[in-house]
């Protein structure tokens, strides 16, 4: 007979064979996002019991009426591209998962399509006139969207891809690391105030806890790409910055423009000097304001540089 207060045996598992695993930071971010969407819980003491009873009657009536006339949850159409797709639509809140042999196409309202590659898990989060939003938990998607900027968003464990009118591929692995490749237009990768603007022909890596790295073009020198990776996610420091500056071509001012606001203040002069070596400072862009990271100045400079990208 076991005593209720007795502690059960551990069985054949020895200590350390099921180590404690650290919860990824992405969980708190998704909780925060959910909290920001939900109203704060109300204190029960604000309501007296009779108010609760009256409110309950009203709620039951309202729920009944709503149930009878409820609209369907918004959904998007799903079609099979390869393999065995078992669903024909995805509703808000639902997940779609492809196996190793399946590809599917989601029709994003009337603004575009998302192709879902094999071994991908994706959820429809919002399908309203003001927000079309997916969550990519793992795998790869290709999105082609024709819509006003910031209407179509894809959350990944490491950042949010904000469509600025474009076509792109985004991939994320089990650990949450991801890479974005833009094929037309622009995409903004965002995480906690950190933003990378990625034009067609460029890529951007992203990591949980750090957010988007520095964008770079497909044809950027290999050494530059590696140095950017060390600069963004490793402990590249001085050495990687030196390589980035030395390897950068005119087109790579895309990367340098992003690096400028991410280096230590003492290194900004080196970055600005290198950018000016590659492309003379345009009229209307003041060097001292660029060094102070004045947002309007940086924006004007980026718009001028973009002609070379």
């Amino acid at each position: 007979m076991k005593m209720p207060d007795e502690k059960p045996p551990l069985g054949p598992i020895e200590p350390g064979q099921l180590p404690l695993v650290k919860a990824p930071d992405t969980i708190w971010r998704s909780i925060e996002a959910a909290l920001d969407k939900k109203p704060e819980p109300r204190r029960t003491s604000l309501f007296a019991a009779w108010q609760w009873a009256a409110a309950s009657v009203l709620v039951i009536g309202a729920v009944g009426a709503w149930y009878a006339t409820r609209p369907e949850l918004p959904s998007w159409q799903v079609s099979r591209l390869e393999g065995s797709a078992a669903v024909d639509k995805i509703k808000v809140g639902e997940w779609l998962q492809t196996d190793g042999n399946s590809r599917a196409r989601i029709t994003v309202g009337d603004i575009g399509v998302v192709d879902v590659e094999p071994n991908t898990r994706i959820r429809l989060v919002a399908a309203s006139p003001s927000e079309h939003r997916l969550t990519l938990a793992r795998g790869e998607i290709s999105a082609t969207v024709s819509a006003p900027p910031r209407l179509f968003l894809v959350d990944t464990p490491a950042s949010t891809a904000v469509d600025l009118g474009c076509a792109y591929k985004i991939k994320t692995d089990q650990s949450g690391d991801g890479i974005l490749r833009v094929t037309s237009g622009w995409v903004s990768l965002e995480w906690k105030g950190r933003e990378s603007l990625v034009p067609a022909g460029a890529n951007c890596r992203t990591r949980p806890g750090t957010g988007p790295g520095t964008p770079y073009f497909d044809d950027a020198p290999e050494a530059l790409q590696q140095a950017l990776s060390a600069f963004d996610f490793g402990k590249g420091g001085e050495e990687s910055l030196g390589t980035v500056l030395a390897q950068a071509r005119v087109r790579d001012t895309l990367s340098l423009w992003h690096v400028l606001s991410r280096v230590e203040p003492r290194d900004r002069v080196r970055v600005v000097d290198r950018m000016v070596d590659l492309v003379p400072l345009p009229a209307g862009v003041a060097r001292d304001k660029a060094l102070q990271l004045d947002p309007a100045t940086l924006k004007s400079w980026r718009e001028e540089l973009a002609w070379k990208w």
């Binding site: 076991k2 209720p4 502690k7 069985g11 064979q17 099921l18 919860a23 938990a137």
Partner: protein, 214 residues
Amino acid sequence: MRTSDIRRHINLKKSGRWAVQGNGANLSDPEINEIVEGCRRGDREAFRAIYEAYKDKVYSIALYFFHGDQTEAGDATQQVFLKLLTSIGSFRGDSEFSTWLHRLVVNTCLDGSRRSKSRERFAEPEEMARIADPASQGEDMERQEVAGRVQAALASLPPKLRMPVVLRHFEELSYAEMGEALQCSAGTVASRLNKGHKMLAEKLAKLREVATRR
């Protein structure tokens, strides 16, 4: 206690019930009550403090329950804490806070398991070891292999037997407390654990045999 002190307070606590393996917080009942009260008021700091204290334990239980599927475990952890916040008003302090939280974890995992039954998969021992202990790659291959076998054997148990085994491993709960979390009697807990441990021992013996033959 001011809510601004809560996080500092938790950071100071590094051992105890929720800290069997060096994680979490050993909070006294009055401290828990303060934090729970903060959560009831909708205080985000208090909620964060609870999350920080228990997140790794909740995530680990979910991860081993869901065969090492990090996405499922992440989803379940998120749901547990969102449910905690919305139902904290129903925690009256009759049982310990940790027992109440275990119940949320158990319900969320079992619900998730029912929903994803069709696509349940079984991780390979090597995969489980990599997920559970990514930092130790190449450090102690033998230990890692054994741990991988244990985790894969655990993953193959039916959910009803798997949950008590995982819960028991992570928490020093009595039969009665486990019964409360699993919503069954102490006798049922004893029977499920006994059955689970037996099946686990058999599967481990088989896996060990396969490994020695390689």
